[in-house]
Symmetry: C2
Subunit: 371 residues, 2 copies
């Protein structure tokens, strides 16, 4: 009972743990953290990792100890999880639309942390003002602009007017941010980084036209952050780099050896010679499957295998192209790299960690903190 | 701040709850439970609902009170959650491959419940025998056969030999089960039900050839269970019928009025006239998207809208086809029916329930119990 052909994903300690479960390879994780930090340090770029990828306190500590500027979060709920653990520089990179109840929670965050929120509309500004958050000395906002993804974010040319609207109402406006998600396509990293720089530059010009400083120009996504244009961009917010995943391998951002997160699964059935079935499906791997990824996760150590189809608790592996001696047998454990680390983590209460002396499991502290 | 155009998804009590969250409409839920039970009762078919769909103790009680035979579960972990709440007739419809640790957990289940496990291989039988479970008076097994899905399950003609192998080793073999998942295609319900009946019938013949009874012939999936061939099938195991979802609406199994589960989300951004962005993405809706479903969930009350693209915390709605007066505005709450109820539930710690006097929230007790 061991992970096929890959000692990084085997541990004596895991024998009594029922599959499927998420495992983290500590040494690879530390290498990923150190590499990204060194890369940013060398280029004078601040690294503010997006912790929605892992939602784990211990991992955020590793990132801060390595030199990260602060944390990026997707929701106020995630910010609460990390504030409770003592983190005090939190950027919720989202156009938070505060209700009374959410504003009260932000007030409590501000008792122990500097908090930055995203805004992309006057309604967002109005809500902060209405709920008495505008004048708080530890709260600031960044204007979200879009750089080609057509998701949230104002048009860059409008960023100055929105910043002025916020500043006139007492908000501290630190600058702008964008997410170059178009980097999630094969060969698109460099053009996405150029889109990012162009949008942030235009937004900064729009700030200047209103007589406003735009000190923070924040971008970043794992596939493109290495190509960041540091003449424009001051800070980057990649998340997945810390684990890597099958998407990043497909994009060429990472190799399987760079991946620090895998699902440990068991072969539970082998009904025909051309397929085996794993106990890992969409409730552990998640169902993300962009068009550039082949299959529902990367089965390690079994050349020619492909996770063809998944249901909630079944992963059907096509082994018709696998050498007879290499086909995993009923009862064997295997390691599967999820397509998307962020959504796989959000399905787990904890991860098993290999190669860490102090702790064998880490809690996914901010799992499910969507609001 | 209310769900657009749909009073079923509005509640004064929800004002202070941050979006996105999952909501259950109690009256619709009770109607779905009663309807399915009546349908099965009328046809002399036992109903053993699959509770992986909801993972909620209170809902399983509703199903049992209505007349369900017992519960179907996907994992031993789910069985533990329901056994702790007092349920004592549990069928894990999965080829459970017991390790020492899992066998110990099954032993504890057997202290309070009758437990049935699936088997589809000799390895599965051997593991039960090796760990001392074969002779337990409250444990039985059903042989899984496949009926066209090419997932787990023995070929029906092999079911008798596997049953004999198990019986010779002391296991109590109750019969056979199959999952006609090919019903998840438009217009396929009747042919899937016919496939199911054919496979179960052949399996029963194979039992007879070994001189074995095959009293339980269990099938079922929500799209096809109404077409069950009761000349062959004795028990059905639909799950989704209790909530319904956007998949079932697309398949024609349900109408939007039949749906008892929705994500309540807020419009957080409206950057251009042709799109609005919700705070509901793949971490609350899940990423399931079969080819026959249009979009990433069904936005209720906004004719012409389509949830075009999702990220973890963003749902981008194309509103270019929506009448100007009907486009939801920044700050409004809306209701979105997830594509797949089972995977959306598994992302939530609790659901808010409307129209139930005794309780306003239910815990998703078996969330994440994958092993």
């Amino acid at each position: 009972m061991h992970a096929v052909n890959d000692e990084r994903w085997s541990s004596e300690r895991w024998q009594g743990i029922a599959t499927p479960f998420l495992a983290v390879d500590g040494p690879t994780l530390r290498r990923n953290v150190a590499r990204a930090q060194a890369l940013c340090d060398d280029r004078g770029l601040l690294l503010r990792p997006h912790v929605k990828t892992h939602k784990i306190i211990e991992m955020a500590r590793l990132q801060m100890d390595a030199g990260a500027r602060g944390l990026t979060l997707a929701t106020v709920g995630e910010a609460e999880s990390f504030a409770q653990a003592g983190f005090d520089d939190l950027f919720v990179a989202y156009p938070v639309l505060t209700t009374r109840a959410v504003a009260d929670r932000v007030q409590r965050l501000l008792e122990t942390a500097d908090v930055t929120l995203g805004i992309d509309s006057r309604e967002g500004v109005d809500a902060l003002v209405r709920h008495g958050l505008a004048a708080h000395p530890r709260l600031s906002v960044l204007v979200e602009v879009e750089c080609g993804l057509r998701r949230t974010g104002a048009v860059p040319e409008e960023a100055g007017r929105l910043a002025a609207y916020a500043a006139e109402r007492g908000l501290s406006v630190g600058g702008v941010f964008t997410f170059p998600g178009q980097a999630y396509a094969v060969g698109a990293a460099k053009s996405a980084a150029a889109d990012e720089a162009r949008a942030l530059s235009r937004a900064a010009d729009a700030f200047a036209a209103e007589g406003l400083q735009c000190a923070i120009r924040s971008g970043g996504a794992t596939p493109s952050y290495e190509a960041t244009d540091t003449a424009v961009v001051t800070e980057t917010r990649p998340g997945v780099y810390v684990f890597q995943d099958a998407q990043q391998v497909a994009l060429g951002t990472a190799t399987p050896d760079d991946v620090a997160l895998a699902v440990i699964a068991t072969v539970v059935s082998a009904p025909t010679p051309d397929r085996v079935v794993l106990d890992a499906g969409s409730k552990v791997l998640a169902a993300d499957r962009p068009s550039y990824v082949d299959g529902h996760g990367l089965l390690l150590g079994v050349p020619g295998a492909r996770i063809d189809r998944i249901w909630e608790h079944h992963g059907v592996v096509d082994v018709s192209g696998v050498d007879a001696g290499r086909v995993p047998q009923v009862g064997e454990r295997v390691a599967v790299v999820p397509n998307h680390a962020c959504t796989a983590i959000n399905l787990a209460d904890r991860v098993q960690v290999r190669g860490e002396a102090e702790s064998t499991t880490w809690d996914v502290a901010a799992r499910g903190k969507n609001g």
